[in-house]
């Protein structure tokens, strides 16, 4: 007898999935959680109001933070780039043009901005990693229900990233990007797999890369030309980290924002650690549902999961928190960091433009 993997998969999956479901229990459980979530939001709103009235607040920037949202802007018919890219821009500090030495050195700042794109953006993830590379990943809704990706990388020296294949041996075009020489490589060109890479140095000592999938090479070049290196995009948090394990420093920040409708809650992940150990603190703009198999630490509020080495704080004033540890860190370090999280009372959980650009306090 022979065994065909594809043929057998459907039968295997059906067998595993199709047992009875207690619809009544499912409905009851969902309703209970829905009501709990509504109460949590009201409580968070009340706490926010109290913060304005005089409770401890986390200092925000003196200049206003702003976030791109919504649909196509009316009255921009001269450009195809009409769809906003969500990102928390900071008008008080410049980008790579003004501070090339800062690129990759500050987890709270991505030293470029991209305001608009030719297609709707479903998800934008701004990231500064421990590797010193600043990145922006966009998931883009294309015509005909297709999905594309746009990745922007910025680093001092040369961008070396494991997700970027070496295309130096491929034919390319010399192009001009705002007066600087660049190379545009068409990596593949088929209906669904068109991908290309634009690589150039927007300022001496700094390299930028735009890598796209499902997007034409011409559009890739247009995206590169529309990136603003005179502005900074912030990585912000609804709660500051005030305590870290001895010897640990904050090394990275990743902010995910969505323009999708209905709205998807914003989230941020802060990375900290030393040469051996790391921990990730993820804060979601909404509370987290409980996990039945985790060991409760504090009744109804937080849990430690040993298999996943993760501490979950369900509801920190309307924000959900997960702290995942690696290396030599363990539950004690997770609890230490969780205990020092300081919620910004004036920060609205679902409005990242009100979050703190000071990641630690």
């Amino acid at each position: 007898m022979t065994y065909d993997v594809e043929e057998s998969l459907a039968a295997v999956l059906r067998q595993r999935a199709e047992h009875d479901v207690d619809a009544r229990a499912l409905l009851d459980g969902a309703l209970v959680r829905g009501r709990r979530r509504q109460r949590g939001r009201r409580l968070a709103a009340a706490l926010g109001g109290a913060g304005v009235a005089g409770l401890t607040t986390v200092a925000l920037l003196t200049g206003p933070l702003a976030i791109g949202r919504g649909g196509p802007e009316v009255g921009t018919t001269g450009s195809r780039a009409t769809h906003p890219v969500p990102g928390v821009t900071d008008p008080t500090i410049g980008g790579a043009f003004l501070g090339p030495g800062q690129v990759g050195n500050d987890p709270s700042a991505v030293h470029f901005a991209l305001d608009r794109l030719f297609a709707p953006v479903s998800l934008a993830t701004w990231n500064v990693g421990p590797d010193g590379i600043e990145t922006l990943r966009l998931i883009v809704a294309l015509a005909g229900g297709k999905t594309g990706t746009v990745d922007v990388y910025l680093a001092a020296g040369v961008v070396h990233h494991p997700l970027l294949p070496d295309v130096t041996v491929m034919p390319h075009s010399q192009v001009s990007v705002e007066g600087r020489r660049g190379r545009l490589t068409l990596i593949s060109q088929q209906d669904d797999t068109t991908s290309s890479e634009l690589r150039w140095s927007p300022v001496d000592g700094i390299e930028a890369v735009v890598r796209t999938e499902g997007v034409s090479a011409e559009e890739t070049l247009a995206i590169g030309r529309s990136i603003r290196f005179d502005r900074t995009t912030r990585c912000v948090t609804p709660a500051q980290v005030t305590v870290l394990p001895p010897g640990a420093t904050l090394t990275g920040c990743r902010l995910a924002l969505s323009n999708a409708q209905p709205a998807v809650a914003p989230s941020v992940t802060l990375t900290a650690g030393d040469r051996i150990s790391t921990l990730e603190v993820s804060l979601d703009g909404q509370p987290i549902g409980s996990q039945p198999d985790a060991t409760p630490l504090v009744a109804g509020r937080s849990e430690w999961s040993e298999p996943w080495r993760a501490l979950v704080v369900y509801d920190l004033g309307g924000v959900g928190v997960r702290i995942v540890v690696q290396g030599g860190y363990d539950r004690a370090e997770a609890e230490l960091v969780a205990g020092g999280l300081r919620r910004a009372a004036t920060a609205s959980a679902d409005r990242p433009e009100t979050w703190s650009p000071a990641l630690t306090g």
């Binding site: 065994y3 998969l9 295997v12 619809a23 209905p262 549902g289 080495r309």
Partner: protein, 160 residues
């Protein structure tokens, strides 16, 4: 909206591999979707949207633990019924499926259980069409290799 719950639970069972955790995940998704259902239902494909919520909810908890999942025991160390035993083969195949990386597993579940096309899968997973195909190709290649290693007789793709 709640009428869709049982179907979501069945999908969740395959994504998380645990019946209780699956129901918990779906309850959470329904609770989140309920206040916005009037808007969700006006979208072109509310079912697709709910599935995307489910996958995202699953990933939000497990996204950083996938690399630390405890590998299942080597299939070669286990005894299985003869190849003629279909139930034994299905159990063995399921154990292989759960060892796949989460994105690859999600692609296979959406393709072979939900019977969705790659475009819909890309929409649900928030990735590009080529990425979906790459995940599917790698997942199937891995399953074929491991199935052969586990003693299951694998028929090559080009065999009829």
């Amino acid at each position: 909206m709640f009428a869709r719950g049982p179907a979501l639970v069945r999908l969740a069972r395959l994504l998380v591999g645990d019946a209780h955790r699956a129901e918990d995940l779906v309850q959470d998704v329904l609770a989140r979707a309920y206040p916005r259902w009037s808007r969700i239902s006006r979208t072109d494909q509310p079912d697709l949207y709910l599935r995307r919520m489910l996958v995202n909810a699953r990933n939000s908890w497990w996204r950083r633990v996938s690399n630390r999942e405890v590998a299942t025991a080597s299939l070669g160390d286990r005894s299985y019924p003869d190849n003629g035993d279909a139930a034994g083969d299905r159990d063995a195949m399921w154990r292989l499926v759960v060892t796949l990386p989460e994105r690859q597993r999600a692609v296979l579940v959406l393709r072979y259980y939900e019977d969705l096309d790659d475009r819909a899968i890309a929409e649900i997973l928030g990735c590009s069409l080529p990425t979906v195909r790459t995940h599917a190709m790698r997942a199937l290649a891995t399953l074929r290799e491991r199935a052969a290693g586990a003693g299951l007789m694998v028929r090559e793709e080009n065999q009829s």
